[in-house]
C-alpha cells in the first residue's frame, strides 16, 4: 500500500459542464505531488473531492486507503487542508485560531508553539487575523492544516495573490514539510512553483490529465531541455530549421505570420553553431535570438497551444 491517494476515472459534472472529466491519479506516500493547470481546469474541484468536501459524480477516490463513505471524521483527522483563500475569524488572534482548531482533533496535535515557530508567526501570535498580511494569512492557513499532524496535506493554490517574497518564504516552508516525509498535494497555476516544489506533476486541462511525470521528464518530453526562440528577416518556415543538427523540434509561435520560431534542443553548444550556419546559408538575418531553459509552461504550450497564464 504505497499510495497515499488513488483516483480512478473521476468525473464531476455540474449540469452539462464536466469540471473533472475522467481523471486518473496516484499520489505516493511522502512525495510532493503537483496538480498544475490553468484556472478552470478542475484542480480545485478535484482537491475538494479528495478532501471530502465535494462528492464525485462517478469514479473511485481513495485517500490513505479509505473512501469518504462511512466514517468521514476518522479520515478528516488524518488529512490537513488549506483551501484556496479561506477567510477565518477576523477578530480572533493567530494563537487563538490555532488553539481553536487544535480542539477539533481528538488524537495527537502539534504544539501551537511549534507551529507558530515553524510558520514564522511567533511575532504575530497576538494579532487579529484581519490585520495579517496576505503572506502571513497564508502561512496561518498552512499552520491550521498542520494542527492535526496530518499524513497528507492539501494546499490549494497556496501562493496565489502573494508578493514574490512571501511566495518564496512559503515555498521554503512547503519544501521543509516534504523533507520531513509529509505527503503534500499542491495545486497551482504557477509553473515555477510546481517545478520548484513537486516531485511529480500532473498537468490537467479541461478536467483531464494531459501529462504526468517529474518536472524533468515533462520538460524532456517536449524534446529538449533548452529552447531557442528566433525571429528572422526574411521569416523562415519551421521546416527550414527542423533538420538543423541538434534541433529536435521546430514550430512557429507568436501572432500573425510575422512569426518567430521555437526550437527545442538538448545541447545549445551543438545546436547554436549549426543554426547560425543554416541562417547564413538561407541568407536570413536573426533579428532576435533568445536561448533559455525550457519550463513547464512550454510543456503546457506545446500540448495545448495555450499558455498556462491565459485565463
Amino acid at each position: 500500500m504505497d499510495e497515499a491517494i488513488l483516483i480512478e476515472g473521476l468525473v464531476k459534472r455540474y449540469g452539462d459542464l464536466a469540471a473533472v472529466d475522467g481523471l486518473d491519479l496516484e499520489v505516493r506516500r511522502g512525495e510532493c505531488f503537483g496538480i498544475l493547470g490553468p484556472n478552470g481546469a478542475g484542480k480545485t474541484t478535484t482537491v475538494e473531492i479528495l478532501e471530502g468536501l465535494n462528492e464525485p459524480t462517478s469514479g473511485k477516490v481513495e485517500v490513505l486507503g479509505r473512501t469518504w463513505t462511512g466514517q468521514p471524521e476518522e479520515l478528516r483527522a488524518r488529512i490537513g487542508v488549506a483551501l484556496q483563500e479561506t477567510k477565518l475569524f477576523d477578530r480572533l488572534t493567530v494563537e487563538e485560531t490555532l488553539r481553536l482548531f487544535a480542539t477539533f482533533y481528538a488524537g495527537r496535535t502539534l504544539a501551537v508553539e511549534t507551529l507558530l515557530a515553524e510558520m514564522q508567526l511567533e511575532e504575530k501570535r497576538a494579532t487579529w487575523v484581519m490585520k495579517l498580511s496576505g503572506g502571513q494569512r497564508q502561512r496561518l492557513a498552512v499552520a491550521l492544516g498542520l494542527v492535526g499532524d496530518p499524513e497528507v496535506l492539501f494546499l490549494d493554490e497556496p501562493t496565489t495573490g502573494l508578493d514574490p517574497q512571501s511566495r518564496r518564504a512559503l515555498w521554503d516552508t512547503i519544501a521543509a514539510l516534504r523533507s520531513r516525509g509529509k505527503t503534500v498535494v499542491l495545486t497551482t497555476h504557477y509553473m515555477d512553483e510546481a517545478e520548484r516544489l513537486c516531485d511529480r506533476i500532473a498537468i490537467v486541462d479541461h478536467g483531464k490529465r494531459i501529462a504526468l511525470g517529474t518536472p524533468a521528464e515533462l520538460i524532456d518530453r517536449i524534446g529538449g531541455a533548452h529552447l531557442v526562440e528566433i525571429t528572422t528577416d526574411p521569416p523562415l518556415p519551421p521546416e527550414a530549421l527542423a533538420d538543423v543538427r541538434g534541433v529536435r523540434q521546430a514550430r512557429a509561435v507568436g501572432q500573425d505570420q510575422q512569426s518567430s520560431l521555437a526550437l527545442s534542443i538538448d545541447e545549445p553548444h551543438v545546436a547554436l553553431p549549426a543554426l547560425i550556419a543554416r541562417l547564413a546559408e538561407r541568407r536570413a538575418q536573426p533579428t532576435r535570438l533568445v536561448s533559455r531553459t525550457a519550463t513547464l509552461d512550454d510543456v503546457f504550450l506545446t500540448m495545448t497551444g495555450r499558455s498556462l497564464r491565459e485565463d
Partner: protein, 346 residues
Amino acid sequence: MSTKSLWALSGVRLKLFFREPGSMFWTFGFPLLVTVALGVAFRNQGQSQTPVAVVDGPGAAQVAAALAGQRGVAARVVDAAEATRELRTGAVVLAVQAAAPGAPLVFKYDPSRPEAQAARRQVDDLLQIHAGRHDTVPTRDETAVAQGGRYVDWLVPGLLGLQLLNGAMWGAAFNIVNARQRKLLKRLAATPMRRGHYLLSYRVSGLVFVPLQVFVLFAFARLTFGVVIQGSALAVLGLAFLGSWAFAGLGLLCASRAQNSETANGLINLVTLPMMVFSGVFFSSARFPSVLQPAIRLLPLTAFNEALRHVVNDGASLLSQGFPLAVLLAWTVITSFLAVRLFRWT
C-alpha cells in the same frame, strides 16, 4: 465524547461578540435607544392638551374665545387651507368651522381615530356649556393609572422579544451565512470538528447573552421609566431562553442554505418584518381583524410577547401561559429539526 471543541467554539463566539462594536450596539444600545424614544414620545403627561384648529371666518373669534383657557384643549385660529393641511399631517385631530350666526358649527375630523372622536366630544361640550347648556348630574374626576398599565410598561416586553429575534437573525443567522460565503464553514467542515458543536456553540453562548440582554433592558427600563416586573424574574429569564431558542431555530432555518449575505438579508427581512407588524411589538396585535388572530397567535414573537407581558405586567406565573409556551416549543423543535436536516457546509 469530547466536548472541548464545543466549549472552545462557544468561547470564540463570546470573544468575537465583545470584539465587534457593531454587534454590541445592536444588541444592547439600540433597544435602549428605542425604549427612550418611545417611552418619551408616549409618556403619560397628566392631562394632555389636544390641539384643535379653528377655521378663520365669521364666528371664529367667538369659538376661539370659548375654548381659550379651557383645560385639555389648545385652540388656534388658522385659515382653511392651513387647517386642512394640519388635519392631514396630524398636527391637529379636529378642525372647527364656525359659520354665520344661526348655521350649524362644523366639526372636521377622521372618525376612525379615537383621539379625534374624543376631541370632538370635548370641544362640543365646552362650546355647549359656554353657550349656556347646564349639566344636571354633578361629576368629579379621579386619576387611576394602574401599575404596569402605561404604554412603556406594555412596550418593554415587546422590545425584549424583538431584541431576541433580531439577535437570532442578524447575530447568529447572518453570521452563519457570512461564514459560508467566506468559506469558513467549508474550512471547518474539512476538520474532524463535530459539526453539531459548531451549531450548538450559538446556543451555549446564548446562555450568556440572553440573561445579559434581559438584565440590561429591564434594569434600564426600571431606572428611567420605573417599569417593574410584576411576576417572577426567573420566569422572565426562563421565557427569554425559550423565546431565544424558538427564534434561533428560525434563524438557523434561514441560514441553512443561503449562499450569500444578500439572500440571507432578504430571507431575514421576510421573516422578521411581518412579525414586527403583526406580533404586537409597538402596538397591540388586537387591532388586526379577528379572522387573522389565530394565525397571529401562532407566530413565535406573538407568543413570546403575550406570555412575557402577562408575566411582567400582570404578574402571571410561567405555567399559566400554556398556549404561548407550546407555540414557542413547537417552533423550536420544528425549525431546529428542519434546519439541521437542510444545513449545508459548502
